[in-house]
Symmetry: C2
Subunit: 225 residues, 2 copies
DNA sequence: ACAAAAGTGTTGCTACTACACCCATGA
DNA sequence: TCATGGGTGTAGTAGCAACACTTTTGT
């Protein structure tokens, strides 16, 4: 019996919705293995990280300049052979954020950083394509019964913005009357006294999400369309 | 920057329903830390395990004699301080099985093995109480939209058996007419030509679960009661 | 006045909840 | 024939899907 001292890494699948498209944040690797290939931001867990999510936050900030966003643990991938360097187990995280809030900046192990549409991903290092697929499944489920969509939006948003997020994530369009009825009826949206004046047409009312009202919903609310 | 070579363990929360009670499989630790305390079956990932679930299966069999059961990854716990030996990250698994199928046998690091009702757990080693709570939440969700309940039953079962599993997991009783209507209407139960003759009263019809029919259900079926 | 997106109601149907009694069997 | 769990039906309600036109604004 030999205790395996596995190397432990964290990788983050960061999603954002940009121009009605669901996108993933990738970095271009500076070093081997998989030098010059696109990969998820992530890296080794260090002694100074006092838990796993801190490690994921640190790597994300170091490699992309994205910080202070919603992160949740996804799944741990540990098959022998997923990393050519030997037994490397990775704890994958899901992040949800708004692209506009961050100026991407490559550094550390990355020679590039970019948002890629989920439907047009490049060839990826390691088993990162599999991890992204897993993350996407999780996001599709989460958006149906949790406030995940609001992590992808500004604090103030129009119902159209919210619907666009849902459509980008689930991958098909939604009847706007039913969509609005369901959200307005749920009580989780606070109607604001402001409108967004975008162009030469009717301005849309702005709303904010109420965490408190969401918590009050009976058991597991359903936002399926 | 120092690469942390974390120790990696796996722990399994095995559930079964016995006499209408949801129970968890625990072992009594033979060695320090937490010597003589109850804990989840589990241990270090070894070089010869070629993926994480294999390690969980191996440890479960070694410590309890339970093998060949449904296992799924739950969550990875990696906070500094969760193990007095230093940085030990554990990948937790959920197992679902029937108690009657296995003769428990303690060995390796365990001086005892037993099923404990979830509502009467002893003091547990490490953060294992937290892990069990997490597993229980997951089970409650899974049973509502997946065939998880059938992993807790024999191949042939009565509708009463199935209802008992649901009641034990969700923690409250269900109207039997509505319960039967929903399951019979769903098409996932194959009616068998057999009955279970238990005692001096009307024998109950036996059913089997049809994986194939379950897969045919539109999107995410709901078995909420 | 026009272009563009915002905003709004109704109807039919399905699926759920609540609820209480008769049936089949073995002893 | 009795004790025990097995098995069944209905009515009211709530929530969902499908569907198209009017309103408001800036230019």
């Amino acid at each position: 019996m030999t205790v395996e001292s596995a190397k432990l890494t964290v990788d983050t699948v960061a999603f954002a919705v940009h121009q009605a498209t669901l996108e993933v944040l990738l970095i271009k690797r500076k070093y081997d293995p998989f030098k010059a290939q696109w990969a998820l931001p992530g890296g080794f867990v260090l002694k100074e990280d006092n838990n796993l999510v801190n490690a994921a936050e640190r790597e994300l900030e170091e490699e992309t300049n994205v910080s202070n966003v919603y992160l949740e643990q996804l799944y741990t991938f540990g098959d022998v052979g997923r990393d050519p360097r030997g037994r490397v187990v990775t704890v994958a995280y899901l992040a949800l954020l708004r692209e506009e809030e961050f100026a991407l900046r490559a550094s550390a192990d990355a020679s590039g950083v970019a948002w890629w549409p989920l439907s047009e991903l490049p060839t990826l290092a390691f088993d990162h394509e599999q991890i992204i697929n897993y993350a996407y499944q999780r996001l599709k489920y989460k958006i149906e019964y949790s406030p995940a969509a609001f992590k992808l939006l500004q604090d103030k948003f129009t119902l159209r913005d919210l619907q666009t997020v849902y459509e980008a994530v689930i991958g098909h369009s939604i009847d706007n009357r039913n969509f609005r009825k369901k959200f307005l009826g749920s009580g989780v949206l606070k109607e604001l006294d402001e409108t967004s004046r975008e162009a030469s047409f009717r301005p849309a009312r702005l709303y904010a999400f109420s965490e408190a009202e969401f918590e009050k919903l009976p058991d597991r609310p359903v936002f399926v369309f």
